[in-house]
């Protein structure tokens, strides 16, 4: 379904550049002939066209005009016959040497060739009436063809849906993870939540932003991790909370490895909380650790009592991300650490840490580049076999009115 459910709309008009040339021409002719057509009283063609379009839309679809509408229609007109008239302002210039490019995020986009409107208007403003009269007919010559609408584009402000996600199985990345055209994980948190949402609001694309993220092989348990999904150009925004809740319920009933809690529509302003939380809020973890030699009870107790008071780590940028992050040493605090013996060389380690601490590197030490590490503290080679995030201490979003799924 492609119909936008917007109650209002705003319209942007782009006219052929020749309009501005002709507008000037008419104004000059009016002055000369002392007609009551002072430049200031010649109405802007743009406003007239905009009004006509809005009026027609209102009659056809009952939609109201509102310059602050979240929905915008951009109408671009072109007129083949007069398409080069503005070139008179640039008599000595040949073909443009290079197509200017500019970067949008990561993609390099080519700028349309030729003069931009602002350049044309600036140049027009520089030319005197006399110069103009010499170079262009005033009033302008008649035209024999109509202008046409070259393009229509519809854009609507994004819809933001927030919640907390749980990842109950391993090998699921937060967002689609594609390297050299190949997917590294079968699915992603973003797709599991985004697909049903996309069907509901009929958006072009969706983009998930989490308050931090965990590796694909790490589960996200407890109350989940706060996130929001931005749905781009949604056709439907009038969504009832029940419909949103249905997505949450169906993920539970289908035993999906990715689930959500507190899913709800949020305001665009609320999204900043997510990023702030990433940097400031502590996280709780549980890990399965292997040690090359079993610990004595004394050693175990020693580490646990050390862990109760918190441990300050100096972490060099882990080797596994060193290719894309600046080489720095970051001090990170482990607020608490508790280690317990499971059996043989296997131990369970519970950690509460400051945001941004690399837990895997704390366990094995990253070749001595994270210090202290569990390897150092125990005096034996330590490696982490499994990691789970048990809690992310940011309270977002607020619990919505419809009761969410109770934890079994």
């Amino acid at each position: 379904m492609q119909t936008f459910d917007s109650p209002n709309v705003s319209v942007g008009i782009e006219l052929p550049k020749s309009i501005y040339i002709r507008h000037r021409s008419v104004a000059i002719a009016g002055k000369k002939q002392e007609m009551p057509l002072a430049a200031s009283s010649v109405p802007e063609i743009k406003d007239v066209v905009r009004y006509l379009i809005l009026h027609r839309l209102s009659v056809m679809c009952g939609i109201k005009a509102d310059p602050n509408s979240d929905t915008r229609i951009d109408v671009v007109f072109s007129h083949e016959e007069t398409s080069q008239e503005h070139q008179l302002l640039f008599p000595d210039q040949g073909a443009p040497a290079k197509q200017p490019k500019h970067r949008r995020g990561k993609t390099v986009v080519a700028q349309p060739a030729g003069k931009s409107l602002s350049v044309v208007l600036a140049e027009l403003g520089q030319r005197s009436d006399d110069w103009f009269t010499e170079n262009f007919a005033c009033p302008p010559s008649a035209i024999s063809s109509q202008a046409k609408i070259e393009s229509l584009s519809f854009k609507r402000a994004s819809l933001f849906v927030g919640g907390r996600y749980l990842k109950l199985e391993r090998n699921i990345s937060q967002t689609p993870f594609i390297v050299e055209g190949r997917r590294m994980t079968e699915t992603s948190v973003a797709e599991v939540i985004g697909e049903p949402l996309q069907r509901l609001v009929c958006c072009d694309e969706y983009n998930l932003v989490g308050s931090g993220r965990e590796d694909a092989d790490v589960r996200m348990l407890g109350d989940g991790r706060p996130f929001y999904i931005e749905c781009m150009n949604p056709r439907i925004k009038a969504i009832a909370q029940e419909q949103i809740h249905d997505i949450e319920a169906s993920l539970v009933s289908s035993n999906s490895p990715v689930q959500v809690r507190r899913l709800q529509i949020i305001r665009p302003d609320d999204t900043s909380i997510i990023k702030e939380g990433e940097e400031n809020k502590s996280k709780k973890y549980c890990a399965l650790v292997w040690l090359s030699k079993q610990l004595t009870q004394e050693k175990l107790d020693e580490i646990n009592s050390l862990g109760q008071n918190g441990i300050l780590l100096q972490q060099k940028t882990p080797v596994r991300v060193l290719h894309r992050r600046a080489p720095l040493t970051r001090p990170k605090k482990l607020l608490s650490l508790a280690i317990s013996h499971i059996e043989g060389n296997f131990y369970k380690v519970r950690i509460e840490s400051e945001a941004g601490a690399y837990i895997k590197e704390f366990v094995h030490g990253d070749l001595g580049r994270t210090s202290p590490s569990l390897t150092e503290l125990t005096g034996h080679t330590a490696d982490i076999l499994e990691l789970d995030v048990e809690g992310v201490s940011l309270d977002f979003p607020p619990v919505p009115e419809i009761p969410t799924t109770q934890v079994a």
């Binding site: 109350d223 059996e343 043989g344 296997f346 001595g368 034996h380 080679t381």
Partner: protein, 223 residues
């Protein structure tokens, strides 16, 4: 599939780690294979090493048959460095257990990484590790590490000096830029022998993308 579990309940299925447990108990260093692919690079003898020095080191440091072979550069006595390559292609290099310096060391470090001071009076003991000036003066910062020192596989990164007067050159092993050198070795040179895991020498970000090109000067096993 259970819904979110409360903290106390996480339990692990250890049976799937049974094989890993026995393999690693025998050789704890194997855990690195989870994070890196393992390769080797043979550093050629330091050009500075004069003939007279080689003879002196042979008598002072009983490397066994390795020493005798050193002069003619046969496989057994090559100065092997390990080159651990991360999935992101970064290469960590250091002195391998197959290197003459470590060959005669018992694998004491397999069960305990306590940094006990080895016998520093032994002539084989490492007296100091001196990094090349170019390395010490290099600038490593920023995501792109654009100002970093460019290295070739044979670029000298540091020289290890033993008490007996021998010198071993450790080289970059791959072509790229230097992203880290282990200054810790300058302060605690004994780590080279006692704690080879903490004694990596340098980390290089390769220029090439392709594994074969990156590891062109390396081999997958010590021959």
């Amino acid at each position: 599939m259970v819904a979110a579990v409360s903290p106390v309940e996480i339990s692990y299925d250890l049976s799937k780690y049974a094989q890993l447990d026995s393999e690693w108990k025998a050789q704890p260093g194997l855990y690195l294979d989870k994070y890196f692919t393992r390769h080797f690079y043979a550093s050629t003898a330091a050009p500075k090493r004069k003939h007279g020095e080689i003879e002196a080191s042979q008598t002072a440091e009983p490397h066994g048959s390795a020493a005798a072979a050193a002069a003619d550069g046969s496989a057994a006595a090559k100065e092997w460095q390990y080159v651990l390559m991360s999935p992101n292609k970064l290469c960590v290099t250091g002195i391998s257990e197959h290197h003459p310096l470590l060959l005669r060391q018992p694998s004491a470090s397999s069960s305990s990484l306590a940094e006990q001071e080895p016998d520093t009076t032994a002539t084989a003991a490492v007296a100091r590790v001196v990094y090349a000036d170019a390395v010490r003066n290099s600038v490593i910062k920023g995501k792109g590490k654009k100002q970093s020192l460019r290295v070739m596989p044979e670029t000298k990164i540091c020289t290890v000096h033993t008490r007996g007067g021998s010198e071993y050159v450790v080289r970059a092993a791959v072509r790229g830029v230097l992203v880290e050198w282990n200054a810790r070795l300058e302060d605690a040179p004994h780590l080279v022998l006692s704690c080879p895991e903490l004694a990596f020498v340098a980390i290089v970000k390769p220029a090439a993308d392709d594994d074969a090109k990156i590891l062109s000067e390396c081999v997958d096993c010590v021959m």
